[in-house]
Structures are given as structure tokens and as C-alpha cells.
């Protein structure tokens, strides 16, 4: 078919107004949410050192997440308006609640751990943080998918999984940075497994998106995406082959996987702008669907009386 028609090549949907804080938050929120689960699991399985490390990483990640989000707002002083309603049709609203609860809990737990007081309260806080951690790491995929940007909306099946895998990989990798190899086994295995899942999901998403996904080959999304794949693959390889034997190698692998996770977020973020900028990504699939399924948005002559009968 011929290329899509447009109005002077102008975009149909608007590019997001979000700035760098948002993809960085996707990274910190993902890492924070997954770290809370890692921390509590380590505690239950009796690995105290890993548990404490993951607890602090989770609390710190959650703690920087909120200022990042507030700084992106057009009216930062009104950030609390997010919590004046509870609205399931708004992933951002639900996300604000999740971050408030998860971040509040993880930071309470970390503070009590530092002070060494109120053990039962601390355990309860860790439990709350790990219940809300996985949603914190995955809702951001829904946040992007619930827009009119083709490359995000059409990836609604993959994005929560991709972001969840990336958050888990970053959590395992971050804990590996601070621990001796003989204490970091589960964290390393998490980084390797989730990192491999992240790589696979990126590939699956790009493949399934077809023409819509070609923005992942171009411009900044392309560059960041290639960097993400290279860094994650290298990190996974180092952790899997050398991580157990040397603290240095384990730290290197952890750093690479974290960097890969951040680059992946940047790639997905930038892909949205590129997808919005070119009207063909909106027009072409919609026109094809309208042809296939009979156009719904336009009422052609001769159809109108039938439509009128259907009422308001």
C-alpha cells in the first residue's frame, strides 16, 4: 500500500511532555520494588547480609523516586493532588499510591533497621514493602501502554513484563555490587535470570510490533536500545561465568546489568517520542483496521439513517 496520508506530515498525537526524570524513575522504581522482595526473601531464607543490603537499596531507590516524579511536574508544589482521589482508570494515580505505600514501608523498615529498634514493626514494614514492590516495578509498563502513542500502546502485552524483568535484574545486580560472592548467590542468579528475560522480552516486543516497532532501530531509541542489549548481555555473561569466583567480576557484572536496565528505560522512553512524531505510525494501522473491519469513526453517505436509529 502507499504510505499513509497526513496533514503536511504533522503529528496526529502529541509527544509526551515528560523529561529525563521519568525514565530514571522507571529505573529506580523498578530496582526499588524488586529489591524489597529480594530483601524479605533473603530474610526468610536466612541470608541476613543480603537481606540488609537489599533492604537499604530498596529504601534508597524508593526515596529518590518521589523527588524525581515531583521534579517532572509542571506544578511541583501541587504534587499531593495525586493523592486527592483514588482512580483505577489512571495508572499514574494508582502508581502514586503504590509508590507512597511501598516507599513509605521500605524507608520505615530501613530506618528501624538502622536504629535497631521495633523489630516486629520493621518486619511488618518489610512485608508491606514486598507486597507493593512487584506492582511498583511493573505498573510503569501499564502507565506507558495506557496512552495513544502507538509504540507504547501496542506493546501493552510486553511492557509490564519487560519492566518487571528489568527491575528484578537491576535489584539482583545492585545487591551484587555490595556483597562478597559467597553471600550474593541468590542476587547473582536473579540478575542473570531476569537479565536474560529482559533481553528476550525486548526482542519479542520489537518483533511483535512490526512496522510500529521500527522506531527501536532509529535515532536515540535505537542507540539506547543497542547499548541496553550489549550492556545487559555482557553483565549477564560476566556474572554467570566469573561472578562466583571474584568480587571484582561480580561488581563489574552488577554494574553492567544496572547500566543495561537504565539504557532500556531510556530507549523505551525515547521510542515514544519518535512514534508520536511521525503520523504514519498512527494513521497506517488505523486505516488498515478500518479497511479490514469496516470503518467505525466515519459514517459514509447512506449509513447515516441506520446510525440515527441507534439513538444518542
Amino acid at each position: 500500500m502507499t504510505d499513509a496520508r497526513s496533514y503536511y506530515g504533522r503529528p496526529v498525537v502529541k509527544e509526551p511532555t515528560w523529561t529525563w526524570e521519568i525514565p530514571v524513575y522507571f529505573f529506580t522504581g523498578g530496582m526499588g520494588g524488586a529489591s524489597s522482595v529480594l530483601g524479605l526473601s533473603a530474610k526468610l531464607f536466612g541470608n541476613e547480609k543480603l537481606s540488609r543490603t537489599a533492604l537499604y537499596i530498596g529504601a534508597a531507590s524508593d526515596a529518590v523516586s518521589a523527588p524525581l516524579l515531583i521534579s517532572d511536574l509542571g506544578r511541583p508544589e501541587r504534587f499531593h493532588h495525586m493523592l486527592r482521589v483514588f482512580k483505577v482508570t489512571s495508572p499514574m494515580n494508582i502508581g502514586a499510591w503504590i509508590l507512597t505505600v511501598a516507599g513509605g514501608a521500605s524507608n520505615t523498615a530501613a530506618a528501624l533497621e538502622l536504629l535497631g529498634i521495633l523489630k516486629p514493626v520493621k518486619l511488618l514494614a518489610e512485608l508491606v514493602a514486598s507486597v507493593f514492590g512487584p506492582p511498583l516495578a511493573t505498573y510503569t509498563g501499564v502507565l506507558l501502554a495506557d496512552t495513544a502513542i502507538p509504540v507504547w500502546h501496542e506493546a501493552r502485552h510486553e511492557l509490564p513484563w519487560l519492566f518487571g524483568a528489568s527491575g528484578a535484574a537491576a535489584a539482583g545486580a545492585a545487591a551484587s555490587l555490595f556483597l562478597d560472592p559467597d553471600e550474593a548467590g541468590p542476587a547473582r542468579r536473579l540478575a542473570v535470570g531476569a537479565g536474560a528475560a529482559e533481553l528476550t522480552l525486548m526482542q519479542v516486543m520489537e518483533q511483535r510490533l512490526g512496522e510500529t516497532g521500527e522506531v527501536y532501530k532509529r535515532e536515540e531509541a535505537g542507540k539506547a536500545g543497542r547499548a541496553a542489549k550489549a550492556l545487559t548481555a555482557a553483565g549477564v555473561a560476566v556474572l554467570a561465568t566469573r561472578g562466583k569466583g571474584s568480587r571484582g567480576a561480580q561488581a563489574l557484572g552488577g554494574a553492567l546489568v544496572c547500566a543495561g536496565s537504565m539504557c532500556m528505560r531510556w530507549s523505551v522512553y525515547k521510542a515514544g517520542f519518535q512514534s508520536a512524531r511521525d503520523p504514519k505510525y498512527v494513521v497506517k494501522p488505523q486505516r488498515e483496521r478500518a479497511r479490514r473491519e469496516g470503518t467505525k469513526a466515519s459514517t459514509m453517505p447512506g449509513e447515516s439513517r441506520g446510525a440515527a436509529d441507534r439513538g444518542t
Partner: protein
Amino acid sequence: MTSIMEPSGVPAGYEAWGDDQHARVGFFTDTSVCIGCKACEVACKEWNLIPADGQDFLAQSYDNTGELNSETWRHVAFIEQEKPLRADDGAVGLRWLMESDVCKHCTHAACLDVCPTGSLFRTEFGTVVVQEDICNGCGYCVPACPFGVIDKRDMKSTANMGHQPDLPSFLGKKEDGRVWKCTLCYDRLKGGHEPACAKACPTKSIQFGPLDELRERADQRLEKLQDEGWNGAQLYLRDPDDGIGGAGAFFLLLDDPEVYGLPPDPVVTTAFLGQMWTNMAAAAAALAVGVVGGFVFGGRK
């Protein structure tokens, strides 16, 4: 197609008005009589005190506004075509299409659905309006709108007649920072007046009224144009069965929507939200299982 929590055909929140609920109103924009005078653009800017956003020469026919955005709530599109006006004209002619675009006041409005603060709301007239004293400029509504209507204003808030104090400079990267769009002249409706653009339109290309009356009128008009043999005439967003549940502001176009910069088959993104939440829950559960798996397989250290 419904977005979650919305019964088909009825805008969410509309019925909550109870006794204060007013008949749903909207625009029927009949582009076949538009003469491209831009009186609507000017009337809108004047009535709503929209700040100036500079003058550009775009070299796109007579269009120097370009798009709907935070500073333009009515936008007249100009298209020059080598196409006969009548479907049965064999000879290729030249025709000049004009269309005054506006927020569609969707039945299933993505902007309203995704707004995390409740700033965007459904009025008693069935329209979609931003409460500027609530909006915190999160920007979620901007990429959610399938028509690219709503937009964030980044200009100095002093243009806002001094009602809003300037932000301290360390927060000052965006100096208004809220989103803006057509309110269907909510203030004028409350006073019993028609919106400024409809009032200013000299050809009745912009018609304002109760939505069911407008739909009837549009059906008759489409039939008439068909009888007269106009090329490409179609109603756009008139049908409550479309992907946004029908628009409060719909159009009669003389070519396919994409020619005017409109999406040919928009579907409100929140129609898939239930599916997305389920999918997320599964991903979140898998994450937890994966973390625990690292301990079960391979030991605790």
C-alpha cells in the same frame, strides 16, 4: 467499545450530576461551508484570554497556526487538493478544503480517564473540562488523547493576568506548567450563551446545540451532500459505536480524516486497561516467584 467503568454511550460521571444534569451539548462542525476566515480561532483566543504564542509563517496554505495545542483551542486546517469537488466530475479540478478543528469532548475521554488528580472532569453538559486549580501538570493526558488536542503550557504565568504567582526560580523550568484545552466555553454555557467560536462563525459551519439535535441535522446534511454528488463527504465521530463512544464535537468532512490530520479509527486507550491491569498482576506475581526462585534453586547464599 467501552473504557472501564463507563457504560456504553453515556459519558462517565455525567449522570452523577443528578438534578443539575443538563442535556448533553456539543458542536457539529460542517466543513462544507467553512470559508477559512479563522473568526473562530480569534473569538476563542479573545474570550478565553489565551496568551499569544508568537507568529509563524508555516507555508502550509493559509494555515499559520499549525495544530491544536495549549494556546490554540480552535484550529482551521487548509488543504489544497487536485480532486474534483463532485464525485461525477471526470475532469481533475482543484479544491480547497477548510476545517475548524477542536477538542472532541469524547464520550470515552482518554484524557479524563488517565488524569491522576481528578482535574479533568465531566461537566453537567457532558463536556470535558480541566480544573486549572487542581491540575499539577503531570502531563499524562497529553499523550493519552488520541487526537493530540490537550497540551501543556510552558509560558510565563505572568501572561495569566497576574492571578498566579510566579514560581520560585529553582522550580521555574515550566512557568505555567498546567495543561489547557477547549472548555466548550463552560463559563458561557453556565450563563446560557453559546460558545464564542460558534457565535463568531459567519457561515454556521460551527453549529452548537444539544447533541441529539445536531446528529439529526448532520444526517440530513450528509444526505443532501450525497444527493448533490459531493466527493468524499462523510460524518466523522458522529456514531456512538465508534472507538471513543462518539464525540461531543463531531464533523462533516469532505475527505478521509487523515487528510485533515485526524486519526482514521481512534480507540480510547483505556478500553484495554482491564486487560493491562490483569497482565500487570501476572507480571508482578512472576517477579516475586522469580526472586524466590533464586533462593530455592542454588541455595540461600
